[in-house]
């Protein structure tokens, strides 16, 4: 096809600009005047903590999520079908919500340690506001990433390699260790990279659990020293790490099937008998219990006793539903343009994905700068509700573009090159082919993208906080305020609402993952 700037490509470039502008703004800000900032010693302490936390969460998610994926994909036990999607549910709970639950449940004056002291006369060392506690909380919140990617890799692994190993004299266990696991390793790494990125970018959970990471440093530089430039500079190592992690994640994506004509066949599932089967069931139950039911249940019990500003909650819920839906559709549309326009080059999508892995505080800096230019240029629009919502939606789009781009890109890849070419030779233009053939075929992926963005908007905090118009709350903002005001009971309400809204979306997403593999039979 010709190299000319087709309308599709111009659209892609514009869409990409929206996502790139905040990143550029961060870089420009980082080049600004140096101000007061952290001492080098503090910086290194934060770095050490960040590294330790990432390692712990990476390892923890690999273990918990890995075992879950291994059980569900390769074994049969009571409840397996239910768990195959239920294990993803904790993804609906924002990490900061899980942190609220655990911090308060395991507080020195909380129910567990109090009961323990009463019973045994000494205080158990179960401190959630610590590196270990944060690692536990984030592991529970992020293990679904590993679970999802590894499970997808395992169920799409054709059995022929494992069978080859069997006929070469390896038993089941040896086959898993020497063939199945090594083959799934890239997927495991990809899942861990996602969890690590989330860990690095997180501020809500870490700050609530008093773990001081590089992101803490970014926030401190900004909120204590009022230096956006220093904050942006401190964010650079985070961005660099995110870039590396993204690269790992991309590299870990399974290549298109190399098996060709051979009939695809799933790995055989081992039936776990008796006690082993129930042990597996128990493991999955515990994981879901710890990741979702325990923290949410505890918050609910707090919320039950607390007051709630029901009208405000309802309005915040309505706001986030509407804005989330619009932002999701809009972001999906932009990502579609980008995906359609950049199918030759892989560089742009990678760059755009960086926004996703950028800590919220940094992104807020990056968003304010371009917003400021608009505000100063069109003063009359600053207090306009529509303008503010438009900016907010643009901000969501740039922050969450990667989340949408990922599935859409994958969906469009699946529309064979020849199908698009066939449509061209049948008289359709490039844009016509996109409209009549490619998008309808990739519609499932489009919907997935829209849902992913929607879930992320539900949890989004920094961009909402800083760009929203007058009188506009979202559930995440309300939860954050209540928590900051030390009213966890009240914070429970919006938190639980977020989860309740996200759960159906998460269920749908999970089901889709299991239906997109070759020769699906579940």
């Amino acid at each position: 096809m010709s190299y000319r700037l087709t309308p599709l490509r111009i659209g892609a470039i514009l869409a990409a600009l929206i996502a790139v502008v905040p990143l550029v703004a961060v870089l420009v800000t980082a080049a600004g005047q140096p101000g007061d900032t952290l001492t080098a010693e503090t910086f290194w302490r934060y770095t050490r903590t960040s590294v330790a936390l990432v390692l712990l969460v990476g390892g923890g998610t690999a273990c918990l999520g890995g075992i879950a994926a291994w059980l569900v994909a390769l074994h049969d036990f009571p409840g397996r079908r239910l768990f195959s999607w239920a294990l993803v549910l904790p993804m609906a709970a924002p990490a900061f919500v899980v942190a609220y639950g655990y911090a308060s449940l395991f507080d020195v004056a909380g129910p567990i340690r109090t009961a323990w002291r009463t019973a045994f006369g000494w205080d158990p060392p179960l401190e959630m506001r610590s590196l270990w506690g944060a690692a536990l909380v984030m592991t529970l919140a992020f293990y679904p990433y590993v679970y999802l990617t590894l499970r997808a890799a395992l169920i799409s692994q054709s059995s022929s390699l494992a069978e080859a190993a069997r006929t070469l004299g390896l038993n089941q266990r040896q086959t898993f260790m020497r063939v199945i696991l090594p083959l799934a390793r890239p997927a495991l790494a990809a899942g861990m990279a996602l969890a690590a990125m989330e860990t690095l970018a997180d501020y809500g959970a870490t700050s609530y659990l008093t773990v001081q990471t590089l992101t803490t440093g970014v926030v401190r530089a900004w909120s204590v020293f009022y230096s956006a430039a220093e904050a942006a500079r401190l964010a650079l190592p985070l961005l660099a790490t995110a870039a590396v992690l993204l690269w790992i994640e991309r590299a870990g994506r399974p290549a298109t099937s190399e098996t060709g004509q051979a009939r695809w066949r799933e790995l055989p599932r081992i039936r776990l008998k008796g006690g082993w089967g129930w042990a597996a069931t128990l493991y999955c139950l515990i994981l879901i219990g710890l990741g979702l039911i325990l923290p949410l249940g505890w918050l609910a019990s707090l919320g039950w006793r607390a007051d709630n500003e029901l009208p405000r909650l309802i309005e915040a819920g309505r706001n986030v539903l509407i804005v989330g839906a619009v932002a999701a559709a809009f972001t999906g549309g932009l990502a579609t343009l980008v995906a359609l326009g950049t199918r030759q080059g892989r560089f742009l999508p990678r760059l755009l994905s960086l926004g996703y892995a950028t800590p919220g505080a940094v992104m807020a800096i990056g968003l304010l700068a371009p917003a400021g230019i608009i505000w100063r240029a069109f003063p009359s629009t600053v207090s306009s509700f529509l303008m503010a919502i438009t900016l907010l939606i643009l901000a969501y789009a740039s922050r969450l573009m990667a989340a949408a781009l990922e599935p859409i890109d994958a969906g469009l890849q699946r529309v064979g090159r020849s199908v698009s070419a066939a449509a061209r030779t049948l008289g359709e233009t490039e844009a016509g082919v996109a409209r009549r053939v490619e998008l309808p075929i990739a519609s499932g992926a489009l919907f997935t993208a829209v849902l992913l963005v929607f879930i992320d908007v539900l949890k989004e905090l920094p961009a909402t906080m800083i760009l929203r118009p007058f009188g506009f709350d979202t559930l995440a903002v309300m939860a954050d305020y209540y928590a900051k005001d030390e009213r966890l009971g009240e914070a429970a309400w919006p938190s639980i609402l977020i989860v309740l809204i996200a759960i159906p979306a998460v269920i749908w997403l999970t089901r889709r993952v299991s239906h997109s593999r070759p020769g699906d039979r579940t």
Binding site: T42, L368, R376
Partner: protein, 335 residues
């Protein structure tokens, strides 16, 4: 036209909402404030449009908006951040006799750019069974060997700790402030963590004997519907330590007129309203804060503490020493 969560009540005796509107940027987010906005709208017919930020974000947004900012009034519950807003030029001085009359000079910016609307004491919660109140009548006591392993505190970047440290730097000089911080670090029962309520609970749970906290969290727990919260306060009491014998450290919620306020008249009416007896009363009742005006009525539990003297720190000092305060904390190893 901006939409808003107008909390205007439909009471019959309210002025009809024809008084235009007012744009408020606030870092406060309490039920008390909602009640005040409602009362203001009812009394004046002016609608209150608000955005709630966290302080640094509020400043950043003002910065980004520059002269285009729609903000009329800025309210922040930290004197340090309020001073910063004033220093950055986000606020303009204005003359208002009513406010000057109601708010003592001590709680007003010397350049007239902002003033205090409510006060919160940063003081000490102690275990009544193990600590006598005289043992904590000076902030310096907290750093003494008496409390080795017995002190609970928040992290250093908690704004109230930063302003407390700013006050100590101003009063004691950097060197002594640093030594004090080192003493606290040596006395810590655990790494700094959790919120003020968590500090109070830790005292009740016996993890520490004394904790630095704002006063109203204690009052909130004491009057809570939750029996567990009330139980926490049974063996815990508040002590009001002194700085140089001159009084305890109070932080201020401040309010000021935004530099480019489009609704200046309404803004000034609102600022006046905040210092009026009704608003001041609501702060005291709903949030258990101390009023900055003299004529406000307070509920009993707040009134019981209102006699404690405040350290007469000049307002600009709150913002002035902020960066140094963070440095000292870092030097002392207070995370």
């Amino acid at each position: 036209q901006p939409q808003a969560t107008e909390t205007a009540s439909s009471q019959a005796d309210c002025v009809p909402s024809t008084g235009g509107a007012l744009n408020l940027y606030t870092a406060r987010h309490y039920a008390s404030d909602e009640a005040i906005y409602a009362a203001f709208t009812c009394a004046t017919g002016i609608a209150v449009h608000k955005i709630e930020f966290r302080a640094p974000e509020l400043l950043a947004r003002l910065q980004a908006e520059g002269a285009s900012s729609p903000a009329d009034v800025v309210v922040i519950q930290d004197a340090g951040a309020m001073g910063e807003a004033a220093n950055e030029g986000f606020l303009v001085p204005f003359e208002d006799a009513t406010i000057d009359a109601r708010v003592p000079e001590q709680w007003r910016d010397p350049q007239g750019r902002w003033f205090g609307i409510a006060r919160r004491a940063r003081i000490v919660a102690y275990d009544t069974q193990r600590v006598r109140p005289e043992e904590v009548d000076d902030y310096a006591d907290l750093a003494s060997p008496r409390f080795r392993g017995k002190v609970c505190v928040q992290t250093s970047d908690a704004v109230y700790n930063l302003t407390l440290m700013s006050a100590l730097i101003d009063r004691w000089g950097s060197q002594r402030a640093l030594e004090w911080a080192r003493g606290i670090v040596a006395n810590m029962a655990r790494q700094p963590q959790g919120s003020d309520s968590d500090q109070i609970r830790a005292v009740a749970a016996g993890q520490c004997e004394v904790a630095i906290t704002n006063h109203y969290y204690f009052l909130r727990m004491a009057e809570s519907d939750d029996a567990a919260d009330r139980a926490v306060t049974e063996h815990v009491a508040l002590a009001f330590p002194q700085i140089n014998g001159q009084g305890s450290h109070f932080n201020l919620s401040g309010a000021g007129l935004a530099a480019h306020a489009p609704n200046r008249e309404n803004a000034i009416r609102f600022l006046e309203f905040l210092t009026g007896p009704q608003a001041q009363g609501i702060f005291a009742t709903e949030t258990n804060e101390f009023p900055t005006t003299t004529e406000a009525t307070m509920p009993e539990d707040v009134a019981a503490y209102s006699h404690h003297a405040a350290d007469p720190l000049p307002l600009p000092a709150y913002a002035e020493h902020r960066a140094e305060a963070q440095r000292i904390f870092e030097q002392a190893g207070w995370r």
